[in-house]
Each structure stands twice: as C-alpha cells, then as structure tokens.
C-alpha cells in the first residue's frame, strides 16, 4: 500500500461493523422529529422506520411539508433548533448516528456519509475557487499534502464530467448544472458509503437533470455507494431508485420496490399521486389530482391522516383508527385499512 493509499484508507476509530453488499447499511427505527413553534409542537417526522442496504438507491417521495427533507437532515445530523429529534435510532453499520459525539461526527461525515442539497448555488462558497473547496474538504479529513489533494480534485472533476481546467473557476463562472456536479464531486471526495441527496436536481432544467442523474447512476455502479434520494418527483424515482418510500404528513404510508410501486400502487394516496402527473406517452386523458391540500401538522387529522382527502375512506374506521405500515404483499408495505 503506497503512502497515499494509506492516507486515503478509512481510519476506523469508530466501531463500525463490517457489512456485505445487500445487507442493511442504515437502519432507521421509529425516528421522531419535532419542530417547536409558537403555535405548538409540530411532529414533522412521526415514527418512521426503513433500511438502506449497501449499494442500494432508496427514494423518499412526497409533497412539500411531508417530512422528507427533515429525515435527510436528521440522518445527517444537520437539524438545528427549533427542530429536535425526540425519538428513535439511526443505526449506521451498527452505530447510532443520533448518539455520536461531535468529535466522532466530524470523522464520520464525508468519510462515511456525504450530503448533496438542493441549491448548488448556495452550497458553494462564492469567493473560493471550486478547486480550493474540493481540496479543503480532502485536507480537512485526510493526512495528505495540498498537492496530493489537488491531484485527487482533478480526478474527481473528471469523474463528474467537469473539464479539469475548471479547477480554478469560481462558482459564478459555472452554470447551475456544473455547480451541482462540483457539489457531487465534493461529496464523492472521500469515497463515502452513503450519499444523501435532497432534491439534487429540482432547481435544474430537465435536460441538465437527466445528464446529472445518468452520471450519478454510472458513478454508483462504479463506486458502489448507497443513495438516499429525496424528491417530490415520483417519475424520477421509478427510473433511479431500487426501492421507494412514499411519505404523507410525516409518515411513510407505502414502501416497495420501485417497479412494483409503479405497476401496482396500493395506498390510495400513492395511486392518486401517480395520477397527478401528466406524462408524455400513454393515453391523453383527464387527470384529477387530489382534492384538498396536505394537513397542518399542528393538529393532524385523527385516524388515517389521508382520510379527509380520500374518496375511499371508510366511515368510522379510517377516521378513528390509525393504520400501521405492514406487509401487504411480499416486499411491499402499506398503511391502509382498505387492504385488510
């Protein structure tokens, strides 16, 4: 092992267990996040549980305010008051991220888990060149010289398809798509096992989005990391994700392999959500969307949180009894009374 390889090797002062591809890398259990507002406590994430396996892309989809971004921030420990994690665990290779000390977190982030947020324009420092920012990220975590880090930075730019002469460009000299690639390059700098992507392409045009997502998929194949991909655009996930979780009002209401959820959605909310997208192929028919709007989480509806908007809701049961997420088909979980 050369000196440089040794420098980049994962120094595991954290006591993480070894896992193989396909085994759970992250296990989220009963996660609860509350925002303390003047109007009262808002439970933005309510007992959410799911796994991300090694090498897997898990998609988290839902409308604004459903809690999907809060989950991303909770897992990466980026939540700030007034948001508080009030329950649950996030096990990463056997270690609870939520209990890590600040010291451990510093070693853990970037090295094991990186994050790509929505607006690339704000994620980069406008007064530093792209190169400097990549090099800084590397030097902060690894015992390498600036020259060595620079070599790695060039390698990373090539990896994400940015011409390497852009190393000395400032963010404003790059297009939105290039900036988002640069952020992805920084995320990849230390070969993390998990990349959390929170609406990474929402601010971009559809052609640029396609380009970047194709690249992310190729990189994933090559480097083998897992992705938690958060988006409001279900149609993206069907192509990108292995499994999809649909969120509504702070809860996961359906989770299944991507193709299965698309072909055979079980929860009425999922069905209606899929019917809310005009598409460019297939029959050109009238679509209805979903009546009403998502609930105010200060006082969520009783029973099933979707019942006020659900045209199939059962009088009594759906209004009173809260449905739990359970297996309704092999590998397919749904929280709906209608499937009993």
């Amino acid at each position: 092992m050369s000196a440089i390889e040794k420098a980049y090797a994962k120094h595991d002062d954290l006591s993480l267990t070894e896992i193989r591809p396909g085994e759970p890398l992250v296990q989220v259990r009963d996660l609860v996040v509350e925002y303390h507002t003047r109007r009262g406590k808002v439970r933005a994430v309510d007992h959410v549980s799911f796994d991300i396996n090694a090498g897997e892309v898990v998609g988290l989809a839902g409308e604004s305010g459903c809690g999907k971004s809060t989950i991303a921030h909770a897992i990466t420990r980026l939540l700030k008051p007034p948001a508080y994690i009030t329950g649950g665990q996030v096990q990463f290779r056997g270690m609870d991220i939520l209990q890590m000390s600040e010291d451990n977190l510093r070693g853990f982030r970037w090295e094991h888990m990186a994050v790509v947020l929505q607006s690339a324009m704000n994620a980069l420092n406008p007064v530093l060149t792209v190169g400097t920012q990549i090099i800084d990220a590397i030097v902060a975590h690894k015992p390498v010289t600036k020259g060595q880090a620079r070599d790695r930075a060039v390698e990373l730019l090539e990896l994400v398809g940015i011409p390497t002469n852009r190393l000395n460009s400032y963010p404003h000299q790059l297009s939105g798509g290039m900036r988002q690639r640069a952020v992805i390059a920084i995320a990849l700098a230390l070969n993390p096992e998990l990349i959390v992507m929170d609406e990474p392409t929402t601010a971009l045009d559809v052609v640029v989005q396609k380009q970047i997502l194709d690249e992310v998929q190729q990189l994933k194949k090559r480097l083998g990391f897992s992705i938690l991909f958060i988006t409001h655009d279900m149609s993206l996930l069907v192509e990108l994700a292995d499994r999809i979780a649909i969120m509504y009002a702070g809860e996961i209401i359906e989770m299944a392999p991507a193709k299965q959820i698309f072909r055979n959605p079980q929860h009425p909310y999922t069905t209606r959500l899929m019917n809310s997208f005009p598409t460019i192929s297939g029959p050109r028919q009238e679509l209805l969307g979903i009546a009403g709007s998502p609930p105010d989480l200060i006082s969520p509806p009783s029973g099933c949180r979707f019942h006020p908007r659900c045209d199939l809701a059962l009088v009594g049961r759906c209004q009173e009894e809260h449905p739990v997420l359970r297996e309704t088909q092999p590998g397919h979980q749904t929280a709906c009374h209608l499937l009993d």
Binding site: E63, S64, S175, G177, M178, D205, V206, V207, V208, Q209, K210, Q211, D214, H232, D233, M234, S235, L236, V238, E239, F262, R272, L273, S276, F277, P278, T279, I280, S281, G282, R284, E286, L287, L288, G289, I290, A291, S293, P294
Partner: protein, 344 residues
C-alpha cells in the same frame, strides 16, 4: 381535448417577428442579450397555446412583452388586428390590460399580504371601472365561486397567509377573470405548487378557456403538462421558437433535434427502461455571445456547415406544423430525417 383546427376564427392576439434585446454591463463593456428573436404566433379564442423552454430560453420575456411590461425591440403585437404598441398613454395600456390579463408563477408574492382576498378582487373591478359599487360584493362572490373557493363569504375575508398555495393561485386566477379578459397569459402558473394540486389549477384553466372562450398562453418548462393542457405547443431554445404544432403531434413526433433532446430527457415511467437514448452534449449557449446561425448547432448531432452561419428559416410541413431546421427544408413533408434521430 384537442379541437378541430381547420376551421379557425380570427386570431385575438397576434405576434409578428417579435424581438427583444437587453443591454447589460457598464458603459465600457456593453453586452447585448438577444433574449427573444423573431417570434411569431397567434392566439385564438378558446384555445390554449403552450410556450415550452428551459430557463433562459426567452419564454418569460415574450409573456412580459405581451403583458406590456417590456417594450419589444422590434416586431408587432396585434390585438384584434390593431397594433398595441403605438399607444403609450396610461389609458391605452389600461384598456389593453382589461382584455389581456396575466397570472404569475409565485402566488406567494403576487398577492399583497396585508389585504384580504376581497380587496384583491375589488381592485381590478374599480381600476377598470367595470361595475357599480353596489354590485361589487356579488361579483366578488361570483368570481370566488368560479374558481371553487367556497364558502365564498369565508374566503373573501381571508388573508393570503391563511390560504394554501393552490388556493392563492385560485385567487390570482379570479383576479385575472375579474375584468372579463379575452386573453390570459399564464407564466408557469403551477410550477410552485405541490404535485397533487397542480392538476386542479390546470383543469380549472382548461374549463375557463372552453366555457368563456378565453385564449390562453401557457408558459412552462414542463412539456408533459403542455401535452395535457395545451392544444398547440411552441418550443423555445436560446431566444428562438424552433418548432410549433399540435401538442400531441409535436410530442409524439418531435422534429427539431432540440425538441427530441428535450423529450428524451423527460422522466417517463410509463416507458420503463429506455434502450436507446439521445446522448446529451454541451450546454445552452450564453445568449450574450455574438451568435450566428442556429443556436443549437454546437450541440446538434446533425449539424451542417450552413447551420453555423445562417439561422434556418421556418419550414411549414402542414397547416399547423412548422420547424426551424435545415433538415426539413427541402423535403417539406413528414419523416425526411431517417429513424435514427428518433427516440425509441
């Protein structure tokens, strides 16, 4: 959703060769941004035309010129056959605006937070002097009912912050309807809204267009919603409208290489995994640069020498279908380009 197009009434609003240049930079380094170049199209009563393009393509500039917020650098805008650019007075513009209304993208900033819903609907009625004041309340309720904000008495008394995004956009639509316009310009009216409520707004606009014979110009970056909502679609790239036609025909059989690229990039779960795709190269050119020829030439797989020097003229392939591309110039008929270009 598509209506027969052979029998057409007179256009209500016509745009001829419209261009807009912006001058940027300081006195020492002046740049000309050619935001829109040579745009021509017609709006008809009861029909929806979509203007589709990526950010910076010039689509919003066109809308703002039509709303008389920008003065065009050259070209004509005709309302019922009369030029609207000659009169500059406040009353002329006021009269035009009582016929041509606009709906903005962001319902969170297009309503005044310190005023109730009823104020927003009363203002246009007063400004345009459409009604006697004792009928105002009835009219406000009627408008709210049309956009399905019921119970109307309750919604009239609400402040914008008490409404959801979809409800605010309904107020904006009601406000546009207040003056009984012939034309509505809608600039990305649903892109800020949640997915589940977008369709409600699109369906409402479609219904208004048909019931009240209003001509809609629907500006969007989402070509799938254009297919859903618009009778006709125009595709913009770097300041030029490069292709136009019936929405369904254009989307199922895109001719311009840029339209083909755009459609291949739209996520489409129904297609499943696509086997052959168009490779995406390059980025949208900066329109500050001195541009000659077709703006798409640098990214186009079918580029010819002529593309780099002269912008292709409009080639009409049928009564409703046209494209600005040399590939179709000589064979003014369908399918001259071979199947390899098509997205499968």
């Amino acid at each position: 959703m598509q209506t027969a197009t052979t029998e057409r009434t007179e256009p209500i609003l016509e745009v001829r060769n419209l261009s807009k240049n912006f001058i940027t930079g300081s006195a020492l380094s002046r740049h000309v941004v050619k935001a829109v170049q040579g745009a021509s199209f017609k709006l008809y009563p009861g029909r929806v035309i979509a203007l589709v393009g990526e950010s910076g393509s010039g689509k919003s500039t066109i809308v703002r010129m039509l709303a008389r917020l920008y003065d065009p650098s050259s070209g004509e805008i005709l309302y019922k056959g009369h030029s609207v650019l000659t009169g500059k007075g406040r009353r002329t513009i006021l009269r035009y605006r009582s016929q041509v209304q606009m709906i903005f993208q962001d319902p969170f900033s297009s309503l005044n937070p310190i005023h109730k819903v009823k104020y927003h609907l009363r203002r246009p009625l007063h400004i345009h002097g459409k009604v006697q004041s004792r009928r105002v309340r009835d009219l406000i309720y009627q408008l709210l009912r049309q956009v399905s904000l019921t119970p109307v008495e309750e919604f009239a008394e609400k402040y914008p912050h008490q409404l959801s995004g979809g409800q605010r956009q309904r107020v904006a639509i009601a406000r546009a309807l207040a003056v009984e316009p012939q034309v509505i310009l809608a600039d990305e009216p649903v892109s800020m809204l949640d997915v589940s409520i977008r369709l409600g707004i699109l369906n409402l606009m479609a219904q208004l267009s048909k019931e009240r014979d209003i001509a809609f110009l629907y500006v969007t970056h989402d070509i799938a919603s254009a297919r859903y909502f618009a009778d006709e679609t125009l595709v913009m790239y770097a300041g030029y409208i490069v292709e136009g036609g019936q929405s369904e025909e254009l989307i199922q059989d895109p001719l311009h290489p840029y339209t083909q690229l755009l459609l291949s990039a739209v996520p489409d779960p129904a297609k499943g995994l696509r086997t052959s795709e168009i490779e995406i190269v390059g980025e949208i050119p900066k329109i500050t640069a001195v541009m000659v020829g077709c703006p798409f030439a640098a990214r186009c797989a079918h580029v010819m020498d002529v593309c780099r020097t002269v912008m292709p003229p409009i080639t009409h392939l049928s009564e409703t279908r046209w494209v600005r591309c040399y590939l179709y110039e000589e064979t003014a008929g369908p399918e001259p380009n071979g199947s390899s270009v098509h997205v499968s």
